[in-house]
């Protein structure tokens, strides 16, 4: 295996919305390389559908403070309020900037950016749903990804496509609070099987989520948590990992996302009796309640016997009362998915849906400038940045509002990029220890030499089935203890994985096996964090502890890896602000 060496001021890992927006910010200011294990336009930002919220007030009265309140409340008060304020204030600029970059938003009759309703976004602190989501049909994420990629092409950004980052290298930095600094990144080149050592002053992780630890998932198969996983193994804590969002409307059994925009445009959820059950759970905003509540409501209907279908384990998303031309104009893609995969016509028939694993609120802890912070005192690790789903700022707290992820990637991609560009001006080029790629090399050699009888796909299937059965919408000590046991078994069996492909060129057999290692590791952190949190808040619901308990649990979880592979749990305070915690009703 050949090893190549590169030297940059800054490296960005991942080329979805956050990575590309960071690249735009850094381009021209220093030598930057963007590494992606896919091609940039394959990133999962492109699968986002419904919109990006900003209080433009183009169609009705709105303010960024209302947006901030909704986000704080949606987060079940676990979000850090100063960060939320920054996001909601800068949202307006961020949307306008995307328009200036060329993004083809839908327009109002006056030619301004059109806006529509979305779950949890309200007028004047909860009075009624507000039209705040800026959108481009039901392919807003696609347009954001394409537009940001176009701007990177314009700026001649250097991409290393199909380079999978497998390790992070630090250098000792004695006398500083963190004691170490970023020194390099190790990447595996898919096309050749070669290793590349990138010496760099700074690295920004924008590598996306890890929703593939669940069986029913809206996530791309590439979303295996490589970035958080490899940093966790290098001693970076993972914050709030127990908070994983289950989107209410995944296509039954497939998990493919059907945007909340379907309900924003007037779609209604119905149980087997045809009842609009959300009226009982959220009398004011009904079907446009936040995702955690809607998913729980659906699962409650199913648990109480009002699910539909042969197994009574799904409910319906009903669009049949919407004007056909509204469906064609505003929801073309998702209705096409339904036709393709279910063979039904959503204009005539209600759509079978079930909650689907969608988004990690937790991840790599950062401050509002994208700098990774490594302890309860928020100590910055110089040169290390994260943005987007892999990061935890925390703006989404215990439950993210719809559209706020697209907002997050643009706002914090930009802020992280800006701070990184500033940081590298004064930083000197770090010294790498000899053979920094040794650990990765050993991991690859071991995987190729493996002669055990475990199969990557089978272990992954078991992990996903277990997480969906026992760590999804409803959790108990018992279910999580079971998940812990299974994950421990899988951790052991993972050592026995052997792969068919021993070659160098496009060896996905190898990379999928390595990715499974991250998924198992992060599932373990998720379950350990969830087991410890004996309360219910946002997306984390415990049947055995059904109430939110602010006195004990108004704090962020910080999970760190012990030397023996165990999970050590610590905590840090939530940063408050204008809004005092209150009961969450919609």
């Amino acid at each position: 295996m050949n090893v190549h060496h590169h030297s940059y001021d800054a490296v960005i890992v991942g080329a979805g919305g956050a990575g590309l927006r960071a690249a735009i910010e850094v381009a021209g200011k220093c030598r930057v390389a963007v590494l992606t294990k896919l091609y940039p336009t394959r990133s999962h930002t492109g699968a986002a559908q419904g919109g990006m919220c900003a209080a433009l007030a183009n169609v009705e009265e709105d303010s960024w403070e209302w947006h901030a309140f909704d986000t704080v409340k949606g987060a079940d008060y676990l979000g850090d309020q100063p960060a939320i304020e920054i996001m909601c204030r800068e949202a307006i600029d961020a949307v306008v900037e995307l328009e200036h970059f060329g993004l083809p938003f839908n327009r109002t009759p006056e030619g301004k950016i059109d806006q529509r309703r979305f779950g949890g976004h309200t007028r004047n602190h909860g009075e009624a749903a507000v039209r705040r989501a800026c959108y481009s049909a039901d392919r807003t994420g696609h347009m954001i990804l394409q537009t940001l990629f176009q701007q990177c092409v314009k700026r001649d950004v250097t991409f290393f496509n199909e380079f999978q980052v497998l390790d992070m290298v630090f250098a000792d930095d004695p006398g500083t609070p963190a004691g170490r600094r970023v020194a390099g990144v190790i990447a595996y080149e898919m096309a050749t099987g070669d290793l590349h050592v990138f010496t760099t002053k700074a690295a920004l992780f924008a590598s996306g989520g890890f929703g593939r630890m669940f069986k029913i998932s809206s996530n791309a198969v590439s979303l295996t948590g490589d970035g958080p996983g490899l940093l966790y193994r290098r001693g970076i804590p993972m914050q709030d990992m127990e908070f994983f969002q289950f989107h209410p409307t995944g296509i039954y059994k497939l998990g493919i996302l059907l945007s909340e925009a379907a309900r924003g445009e007037g779609g209604i959820l119905r149980n087997v009796d045809g009842e609009r059950f959300m009226e009982r759970y959220a009398p004011t905003v009904k079907d446009l309640a936040p995702r955690d509540m809607v998913s729980r409501s659906i699962m409650t209907e199913i648990r109480e016997g009002r699910g539909a279908g042969a197994d009574k384990d799904m409910v319906y998303l009903d669009l049949t009362h919407l004007p056909p031309e509204q469906i064609d104009e505003k929801l073309p893609d998702i209705t096409d998915f339904v036709r393709t995969y279910l063979g039904i016509e959503p204009k005539k028939d209600p759509i079978p849906i079930q909650p689907t694993a969608h988004y990690a609120m937790g991840g790599i802890p950062t401050n509002v400038d994208g700098q990774v912070v490594i302890d309860a005192d928020n100590t910055v690790l110089p040169g290390l940045y994260a943005a987007g789903e892999c990061a935890c700022v925390s703006v989404h707290g215990a439950n993210r509002l719809g559209t706020n992820s697209l907002l997050d990637i643009v706002v914090f991609g930009r802020r992280g990029g800006r701070d990184m560009a500033r940081f590298v001006i004064d930083a000197d080029q770090p010294e790498l220890a000899p053979e920094p790629e040794a650990e990765v090399l050993a991991r690859i050699e071991k995987m190729k030499a493996g002669a055990g009888d475990a199969n990557t796909a089978d272990l992954r299937t078991r992990l996903q089935a277990e997480m969906t059965a026992n760590a999804m919408v409803f959790r108990t000590e018992e279910s999580l203890a079971h998940a812990t046991e299974v994950i421990d078994e899988l951790t052991e069996e993972y050592e026995q994985v052997s792969i068919d492909d021993k070659g160098q060129v496009f060896n996905y057999d190898l990379t999928e096996a390595l990715e499974l290692g991250y998924l198992i590791e992060l599932a373990k952190v998720t379950v350990a964090s969830a087991r410890a949190r004996t309360e219910s808040r946002g997306a984390h619901f415990r049947d055995d502890h059904p109430l939110r308990e602010d006195e004990h649990w108004m704090k962020h979880t910080l999970a760190t890896r012990k030397d023996d592979g165990g999970v050590h749990l610590g905590y840090k305070p939530v940063i408050g602000g204008n809004y005092e915690p209150m009961e969450r009703k919609y």
């Binding site: 949307v95 327009r107 393709t340």
Partner: protein, 232 residues
């Protein structure tokens, strides 16, 4: 149901030329072709290489030739293609391994058409206005996911890899007809070149191949007309 899946295999480390290999897999009629390929990869031969990511037709990774035509493997249901399925890499780009081709020539053509908004005005603190009618003018071509299904279905491209190809023209169209853009003339110059739109013989393969239902041939014709009108 039993499905006979015939895949064109090539491993540059062991093979001198591509060869067909047939697998039998047990699938549901409503499974995707991609699921059948995965079944082979996960339980019969882990060396099989293909690109895929989102697995529902929006990322553009898994364009391949399925029963002779260009399709995304993740949007084709087995019940719609039958129980005998042949799969081969998209044509006209160098095959690297199995179903993985070298995408770089494709993206180089994309980059050649200035695929980004060019403006000289100072837009200020608010969005530029654009009417819904102006936006509709280029809506269809904004849907492109750069999967290369169109370009690699084009007989002209097979014969002449210098041809800029349908996908690049689609992405040029997206900006040429955007009321906010100011670089239409430059793009038309690029596409008026001998490797540009005039190579198109309106075979309509591209339109048939597009998984996003973009009217690709129509977009190419609109660009041709724009070149002619702009010369008058």
């Amino acid at each position: 149901m039993q499905v006979e899946l015939k895949i064109k295999r090539y491993n540059p480390e062991t093979d001198t030329k591509p060869h067909w290999q047939t697998y039998t897999v047990d699938m549901e009629p409503t499974d995707k072709v991609l699921d059948a390929i995965h079944e082979v990869k996960y339980h019969q031969d882990g060396t099989l290489a293909l690109r895929r990511s989102c697995v529902h037709g929006v990322c553009g990774s898994d364009a391949m030739v399925i029963n002779g035509v260009n399709r995304l493997a993740c949007t084709q249901l087995i019940q719609d293609v039958g129980d005998k399925i042949t799969v081969e890499p998209i044509r006209g780009l160098p095959v690297i391994k199995d179903l993985v081709v070298d995408m770089e020539p494709f993206f180089a053509q994309y980059r050649s058409v200035l695929p980004y908004l060019v403006t000289t005005d100072e837009p200020g603190y608010r969005e530029r206005t654009q009417s819904s009618e102006e936006r509709d003018r280029f809506d269809d071509t904004t849907k492109c996911i750069l999967c290369a299904a169109c370009t690699t279905s084009c007989p002209v491209f097979w014969g002449n890899s210098g041809y800029v190809g349908p996908a690049a023209i689609v992405n040029a169209h997206r900006f040429i007809f955007d009321s906010r853009d100011e670089a239409g003339a430059e793009r038309l110059d690029v596409l008026n070149d001998r490797t540009g739109v005039w190579r198109c013989r309106t075979a309509f393969n591209c339109t048939d191949a597009c998984p996003r239902d973009i009217k690709v041939t129509q977009a190419i014709e609109e660009v041709k007309r724009e070149i002619l009108y702009s010369r008058i």
